[in-house]
């Protein structure tokens, strides 16, 4: 026996038992991964399946619809009040307004907090972060009273302005943008400034276009948050034809109580845009969450 093989034998001998244990560990890891994946996806697949079923079949355990029908979608598309396309448009409007302002004011404010020197900057930034500590629903009474005073609560399209004011800018957007602008070399806009450009021009021409990844994160997180938003639309949107998809869902759930196919069709329509965003821009969801939520 050579020295080498002795050494190998010594090393291999105590290892053999942990190898078995590690195999079991591997097996357990994959068992958990697969079980939980099933738990995650089956409810969604079940929802899609039901949206193509007839009402009687929606009560049975069939994964593939026996007589697939688009009736659920047709009902949701034509018979709800307001109809699905209207709610879809309303949701898109609420989300788009918030996204535009969060991107613009988030970038502009983030630029100021990161790169411009002015007295009280750090204190003001802490103040901004402090707003994350005040939970949304605690503000219900004062915000509602302020919106009443501004005449934004009475039924009408001005309700959208009410939602917009509340969702126009979030501390998270400012935070994400500030962190991004801190990573860019500081002499970048100096040259533009020497050429006589003002601070806004330097921001708009040079830094804003550079910030595309951070802007995408802010846009996607804001869009997702407001598209999914339920509390403020419930409080503020008065007229039925101004309802968003999420608000409509919560109301039709009582109206249609057990007419599952159209309800599930609505769930699908309300979720698909976010799922598409997630499929294409997954890294922004995850990245934004860990930078914004952890440090905020």
């Amino acid at each position: 026996m050579s020295v080498k093989s002795v050494a190998q034998a010594v090393i291999v001998e105590p290892k053999s038992e942990p190898v078995v244990r590690r195999r079991i560990g591997r097996g357990l890891v994959y068992a958990i991964l697969i079980t939980y994946s099933v738990l995650v996806f089956v409810p969604f697949l079940w929802t899609i399946s039901t949206s193509f079923k007839t009402l009687p079949e929606s009560l049975l355990l069939t994964f593939i619809p026996q007589n697939p029908t688009a009736q659920g979608y047709i009902t949701a598309w034509t018979q709800l009040k307001p109809v699905l396309p209207v709610m879809f448009f309303n949701s898109a409007l609420v989300a788009a307004l918030a996204t535009v302002t969060n991107v613009f004011f988030g970038a502009l404010g983030g630029y100021a907090f990161a790169r411009l020197r002015f007295p009280g900057r750090e204190a003001l930034f802490l103040l901004v972060l402090g707003t994350l500590m005040i939970p949304d629903q605690l503000r219900l009474v004062p915000v509602y009273q302020i919106l009443v005073n501004l005449q934004l609560i009475s039924p009408g399209p001005q309700n959208y302005v009410g939602i917009w004011i509340i969702t126009a800018i979030s501390a998270t957007s400012l935070f994400i943008m500030r962190q991004f602008f801190l990573t860019i070399p500081f002499d970048l806009e100096e040259s533009a400034r020497i050429d006589g450009a003002g601070f806004f021009t330097a921001f708009w021409r040079i830094l804003f276009p550079l910030a595309r990844p951070a802007l995408a994160t802010v846009a996607i997180l804001t869009f997702q948050g407001t598209w999914n938003g339920f509390f403020w639309p419930l409080v503020i949107l008065q007229a039925q034809n101004h309802w968003t998809l999420q608000l409509g869902l919560s109301q039709f759930r009582f109206q249609y109580s057990t007419n599952w196919p159209p309800l599930m069709a609505m769930v699908v329509v309300a979720t698909v845009p976010i799922v598409l965003l997630y499929l294409f821009f997954q890294r922004y969801f995850v990245g934004g969450l860990s930078s914004g939520a952890v440090k905020g």
Binding site: V40, L61, A112, F200, V235, R253, Y278, V294
Partner: protein, 309 residues
């Protein structure tokens, strides 16, 4: 010469400060009115009898006496605290389990991470409505129970999980453990990946098993993540609202089983227009959340939670 330069530098500085203030002005005004200001406004409103037309009578602290004497408020407090105490440990344990498991593999890690976060991206309304369907008497959950030999119709709740007083809140707990576990997993995963691997090497040399190494080394090292996950989920849990009103309506049916503090606050504001009363409920909720956060600070030490990544 120097004088002029200092002068131009001065105006330059002033211009920069002016630009800075004007660039943050709109967000700051909105925050001052709708966040920070509204907290103080809320405290002020809570001292009045205050309806849709504004204040009518100064009550001092009497609104707080009224809510403490209201039976429904007691139910709301009890439900919210029960919900929080049960759901938070489940969310933490599930999030940690998923993070550890996902961290064990190389191939497919990105897939499972994305998959487990998936329920968190859908809206609470969509998730709750699909859950109501799954947990209904003829729903998928009861079909699955049937497959393993349990006849749901014979259970004390008749298989109506969200419609029965005894099982409604626990069903919502299961739902929200499911939707938030992916978020908690991401928090833990970030922290797990920051633990240097030589820490584990050292443990292996010591002869510690995987299990021992986890409890002795990994678990304590995750303290910043524990703190972050615990505070996030406690604050979220104390504010549970969407699922309660969508599944149980404004009364939190059945029989107030889903009445939560925020649902109570919502009713007092939007249904009864008792703004003064509702504001005092909000202040009580704020006090509870504040106290809970302080307790957790004690529990997990003043960990440097900003480094939790």
């Amino acid at each position: 010469m120097f004088g002029i330069r200092r002068g131009s530098l001065g105006t330059e500085r002033a211009q920069e400060a002016l630009a800075g203030y004007s660039f943050i002005a709109i967000p700051l005004i909105l925050f001052l009115i709708f966040n920070i200001g509204s907290l103080f406004y809320s405290a002020y409103i809570s001292l009045w009898r205050w309806g849709i037309l504004g204040p009518t009578e100064f009550l001092g602290p009497r609104n707080y006496e009224f809510i403490l004497r209201d039976d429904i408020f007691h139910i709301a407090i009890k439900n919210s605290i029960y919900y929080t105490i049960v759901v938070v440990p489940i969310q933490m344990a599930l999030g940690l389990l998923l993070a550890v498991v996902v961290n064990q593999i190389w191939r497919g890690r990105a897939f499972f991470r994305a998959a487990f976060y998936f329920p968190a991206i859908a809206s609470s309304a969509a998730i709750t409505v699909l859950y109501i369907y799954i947990m209904s008497p003829d729903g998928l959950f009861n079909h699955v129970l049937q497959l393993v030999g349990v006849n749901a119709a014979g259970l004390p709740n008749g298989g109506d999980w969200l419609g029965h007083q005894k099982t409604a809140m626990n069903s919502i707990i299961a739902l929200n453990a499911w939707t938030t576990s992916g978020t908690m997993m991401l928090f833990y995963l970030g922290q797990l990946q920051s633990i240097p691997s030589d820490v584990y090497e050292a443990a292996r040399v010591d002869g510690s098993g995987t299990w021992t190494a986890f409890w002795r080394i990994t678990f304590p090292l995750l303290r910043p993540a524990h703190y972050l996950v615990a505070t996030t989920s406690v604050i979220g849990a104390l504010q549970m609202f969407d699922q309660a009103i969508i599944a149980g309506g404004t009364d939190g049916n059945p029989n107030y089983a889903l009445m939560t503090i925020v649902l109570y606050l919502y009713n007092a504001t939007i249904k009864q227009y008792e703004f003064g009363y509702a504001a005092s409920v909000g202040i009580v909720l704020f006090a509870i959340i504040f106290a809970a956060t302080l307790i957790q600070r004690r529990l997990f030490g003043s960990a440097d939670w900003a480094s939790a990544r």
